[in-house]
Every structure is written in structure tokens, then in C-alpha cells.
């Protein structure tokens, strides 16, 4: 997981911009799930800016609704919402709920309660077979039994137009996913449940885009992409520290350090 892997990728500048927006959004609000939001940046940038999918017709379901700061920042970049909206994140009169909400233009599914999105995505892809439905889940979310119900269902109905990306950052709110509830060999489990599986570096834009193309080409098998990521990616003191699953307002010095690091490592 080389931080410089994206150095020359044309979309890396967007990823950097999104990271800064996420930090600013959460710090302005004084609360937000920064760890997972930062780990999922390249995944969502690859989804929205590679033109592999057209989300005016294809569908994106953010099952892990707490990663919404990243999605909101991307929707602002795409002009679906105003940049000025980002500073209203989770405020009383804002549409930008603390967990992702359909009241935000460009969002198709309100979530927050983990484990439900893959079922929803699966139903949507069954009802709209002419387009692709891409779901983003997390490794911690795979503790939920409902995820496995949906995995079996997608196999049964040969949902070649369904893709589930797992943001596998290895951390959750109270510790590492290995400590809280070991997932074992997740790729092997997907494979044995009848899915195609790819494991990629979830911060490598080229690898992610390649994996998305391969997943899209699958016609009868649902496709899983396990994206190995770093929680808190880009801010050194947050990386892989589960205490930064979510944050309140950062002390001024720490905020400046975080901002500096994101600006310096703009790649």
C-alpha cells in the first residue's frame, strides 16, 4: 500500500481534494466518521470519475452510511450539490445528514444501520437488470448476518449486474475487526458463496479501476471487490488507529497538522 502509488494517476488530484473536503466538513460540524471516510476516498473517486459507470442510470448504494462525507464531497465536485452545502454537514437545517440520506441530490439510499445496503442493492439490481448496481460495504459490516443472506441471494439469482466493494480497513469503532469478530479469509468465503472475487489495494486508483472493469464484465456472477485500505488514510496520526473511527472537533494544532499532511501528500 504505497502512498505514492497514485502519483501519476490523473484522478489522484481529485482524491486529495476530496480528503481535504472530508476533513474540513467533519471538523466544521464537530463530529463525523473520519476514519472510514478517508479509507474509502479512492474507491468512491474511482467509481464516480472513471466513467466506467454512469450513475444517472447505474446505481450506487452506500451501505455504510457513515462514510457519507466522502460521497457528499464527491457529489459537490460533480456539481450535484453546492460546495457551500458541505459546511452545513449534519446541522439542523441541512439535507446533509450525518448518515447518508436520499434528501441529498445524487443519493439513492438512506442508510446508517449497517448490513442492510447489500440487500437493497440486490433488490434494485434484480428490478433493473439493464444497469449495474454497485454497493459499498465495510469489513466490520460483515459481522451482520443480513450481509450473508444477501450474498446467498445474489448467487441464487445470478446477479451479474451486482458489485459489492468491501472497504477492508481492518478497524471498527472499538478495535480491530480481527479482535472484535474475525472474518477469516473473506475472499475465499465470497468465492465459495458463488461470487467472483478480486482483492486490490484500495488506495491504488489504477488497480481499483481495473478491478471495476473486470467486475462490470461479469455477466452471471455477482462480483466482490475487496479493497484493502488504511483507516484514516493520509493523516499520519489517524492511520490504523481505531480511536479515529469517528472524531469530535480536533484541537487546532492537530487540525492544522492534518490539513498540512493532506496538502503535502497531494499526489
Amino acid at each position: 500500500m504505497n502512498i505514492f502509488a497514485n502519483k501519476k494517476h490523473p484522478l489522484s488530484a481529485i482524491a486529495s481534494e476530496v480528503r481535504l473536503s472530508v476533513l474540513e466538513m467533519i471538523n466544521t460540524a464537530g463530529a463525523g466518521h473520519i476514519g472510514g471516510s478517508l479509507s474509502s476516498v479512492e474507491i468512491m473517486v474511482a467509481l464516480y470519475f472513471s466513467h466506467i459507470f454512469n450513475f444517472d442510470r447505474d446505481h450506487f448504494i452506500l451501505s455504510a452510511g457513515h462514510l457519507c462525507p466522502t460521497l457528499y464531497a464527491i457529489l459537490a465536485k460533480l456539481g450535484k450539490i453546492k460546495y457551500s452545502d458541505l459546511s452545513t454537514f449534519s446541522d439542523i437545517d441541512s439535507r446533509l445528514e450525518g448518515h447518508v440520506s436520499v434528501s441529498v441530490s445524487g443519493v439513492e439510499y438512506s442508510s446508517g444501520s449497517l448490513g442492510q445496503g447489500l440487500s437493497f442493492a440486490s433488490g434494485l439490481s434484480l428490478g433493473d437488470k439493464d444497469h449495474h448496481t454497485v454497493c459499498l460495504t465495510t469489513d466490520g459490516e460483515h459481522d451482520e448476518g443480513q450481509i450473508w443472506e444477501a450474498i446467498m441471494f445474489a448467487n441464487k439469482y445470478h446477479q451479474g449486474n451486482l458489485i459489492n466493494i468491501v472497504d477492508y480497513n481492518g478497524q471498527q469503532i472499538g478495535g480491530t475487526t480481527a479482535d472484535i469478530m474475525p472474518l477469516g479469509e473473506l475472499a475465499g468465503k465470497y468465492l465459495r458463496f458463488g461470487w467472483t472475487v478480486q482483492t486490490v489495494n484500495g488506495h491504488d486508483l489504477s488497480a481499483l479501476i481495473k478491478a471495476l472493469k473486470i467486475a462490470k464484465a461479469s455477466t452471471i456472477y455477482p462480483a466482490a471487490i475487496i479493497a484493502k485500505t488504511t483507516m484514516g488514510k493520509g493523516i499520519s496520526f489517524m492511520e490504523n488507529d481505531y480511536h479515529y473511527h469517528d472524531v469530535k472537533k480536533l484541537p487546532a494544532a492537530l487540525y492544522l497538522q492534518a490539513k498540512n499532511e493532506l496538502e503535502i501528500t497531494s499526489y
Partner: protein, 302 residues
């Protein structure tokens, strides 16, 4: 009731190519065998997985399908309440949740299968509408109306065949209660077959029988008009007292200046149990015609 529902659904599915059934491993018991063979591609079998089934239903509805989620009420909403709340209600998708085998009439299957909390759970969810037909005639009319509704809805069915008392000339309207029998001494309000029992009672008292099959939205106008006329109210339901229709109506009346003698016959914070004759359970929980008559006499004696 189940049979009548299935007939209505078959007719609707013939006319509407967007109508889907989501099944949760109980196809024969919810009488959907014919649907599953006639509309194979529109019969989605999820296996015994209620949370996934609710999510699949919501996703299908998002894609524009007209979805009926069909399984026992003790499992849906009994197991999948959180998925109904988020994936269906919060996303405001018009899934029709059909809760079979509700109430004590589920008989020998016992406490785990006698869903006595469904109305309380579903009434509490924003966006959700809640209905409970009195018999096979009403369910037929109700399904035809609900299939065109753009709101999430819960529909409560019972297991055994029950007497048909709903007049064929009456229609069904969302948010409307029907005065099935006009009277002046006491209002008897309820829903489902437990209310139908009142027609078998022989009494000199003049009973006003109000069928509250639309539990949410509630027909406050018809209910208050009747209570104002009679000054006495008996609410009867095959459901927990906690969170049921009785509490909803008591709250409604307290908000007005109406004076009213009130009794609520319902299951009193206890579980059901097995019974070969399900009506034995009505006797055990004080919901039989004898209990109803006693209560009417007490209310009318003052």
C-alpha cells in the same frame, strides 16, 4: 382470509406486470403456490431470511416494482423491524408487508407464532400505514386499493377461516372506518375476526359496531362521532394492550373534551400458548363473546 388475499393478488398480477411477490420460505403456508407457478419470474424466494427479504423488497420497489412481502407476522415485522424502518420507511418505498398468522387465532403453533405486537410496532413507524381486515370479503377489497397506494403499508392476516360478515356493498377506503351496525348505547370498536364475534352476541343493548380496519391513518372523525353519540366505548383487539388500538383511541379521546366510559379488551402483557381450538385462547384471554357481553353489560349498567 389467506385464500381471498391470494385470489386478489392473482387478479392484480395478471393486470400489472410490475407486481412482484417476495417470499420468505413459507410459500405453501401463505398460499402462494399458484402465484409462484403462474408468475415464476415475479415470485422472488429469499429463503428463511426476513431481513434480506425486506431489503430485497425495498430495492425492487426502488426500481419501480409493486412489491408484496409475504410471510408470518411473527417474523416480519417480528424479526426485520430495523430493515423495515430504514430500507422501507426511511427511504419511503411503497412495499406492502403482508403479516400472516397474526394474533391468538394462530392456535396450536403457540406463543412464538402468535404475533401480538405487530400493530404496536408498525403503528410506531413514520410513513407506514397499517390495516387489518375483518374477514375475507374486506381483505379482497383492501388489497385492490392498497396495490395502487404509493405508501409503505402493513396488512395483518389471520390463519384460520373466519366468519364473513363484511357487507359486499361496502368498499374500502384508506383512513376510513365503517359503522357496520348502528346503535345508541355503546360503541364497540375493533379490527379483525375478534370484532366479528360481536355480531353473534344476543343482547337488548343497542350496539354500534365500528370496524377500524384502517388503524393508521385512523378515522378519528367516525370514531369520535360514535363515542359522542353513545358515551361508552369498548375497544377489543387480538393484540397486546400495550401499543394497540385501545391506547391510540384512549389518547385520541383524552385530547378532546368528550366524556366516555371506556374498557379495553386485549391481551394483558402476556404471551399466547398452544390451543387446538384457537377460540379457547379467546376464552383464556377474556376476548370471547361471553367476555364481550359481560363487559358491555358492566359498561352499560352505569
Amino acid at each position: 382470509m389467506r385464500q381471498s388475499f391470494s385470489e386478489a393478488l392473482l387478479e392484480l398480477a395478471t393486470a400489472d406486470p410490475n407486481l412482484y411477490v417476495v417470499s420468505v420460505g413459507l410459500r405453501p403456508s401463505v398460499m402462494l403456490d399458484r402465484f409462484s407457478t403462474r408468475f415464476k419470474t415475479r415470485f422472488i424466494e429469499c429463503g428463511v431470511a426476513e431481513n434480506n427479504a425486506a431489503g430485497i423488497s425495498a430495492g425492487l420497489a426502488k426500481s419501480g416494482k409493486n412489491v408484496f412481502l409475504c410471510t408470518y407476522s411473527c417474523f416480519s415485522p417480528g424479526i426485520n423491524l430495523a430493515t423495515i424502518k430504514q430500507s422501507i420507511c426511511l427511504n419511503n418505498l411503497p412495499v406492502k408487508i403482508i403479516g400472516y398468522h397474526a394474533g391468538l387465532l394462530t392456535g396450536e403453533l403457540g406463543a412464538s407464532h402468535q404475533m401480538l405486537e405487530d400493530i404496536a410496532l408498525m403503528r410506531s413507524l413514520p410513513k407506514m400505514e397499517v390495516f387489518a381486515p375483518i374477514d375475507a370479503t374486506e381483505i379482497y377489497k383492501m388489497v385492490k386499493v392498497l396495490a395502487k397506494s404509493s405508501h409503505p403499508a402493513y396488512l395483518r392476516l389471520v390463519r384460520p377461516s373466519t366468519p364473513v360478515i363484511y357487507p359486499g356493498r361496502l368498499g374500502f377506503t384508506i383512513g376510513k372506518s365503517q359503522v357496520l351496525q348502528s346503535g345508541k348505547d355503546i360503541t364497540v370498536l375493533g379490527y379483525g375476526p375478534v370484532l366479528a364475534q360481536v355480531f353473534s352476541i344476543v343482547t337488548k343493548k343497542s350496539l354500534e359496531i365500528v370496524n377500524c380496519s384502517s388503524l393508521k391513518p385512523l378515522d378519528t372523525t367516525t370514531i369520535l362521532r360514535s363515542v359522542k353519540k353513545t358515551g361508552r366505548l369498548l375497544v377489543i383487539e387480538d393484540h397486546q394492550q400495550n401499543g394497540g388500538l385501545g391506547e391510540a383511541v384512549a389518547s385520541l379521546i383524552l385530547k378532546t373534551s368528550l366524556k366516555c366510559r371506556f374498557t379495553h379488551l386485549a391481551v394483558s402483557d402476556s404471551f399466547g400458548q398452544s390451543a387446538r381450538d384457537p377460540y379457547d385462547l379467546y376464552r383464556l384471554h377474556g376476548l370471547s363473546p361471553v367476555n364481550i357481553l359481560d363487559t358491555i353489560n358492566k359498561l352499560c349498567s352505569r
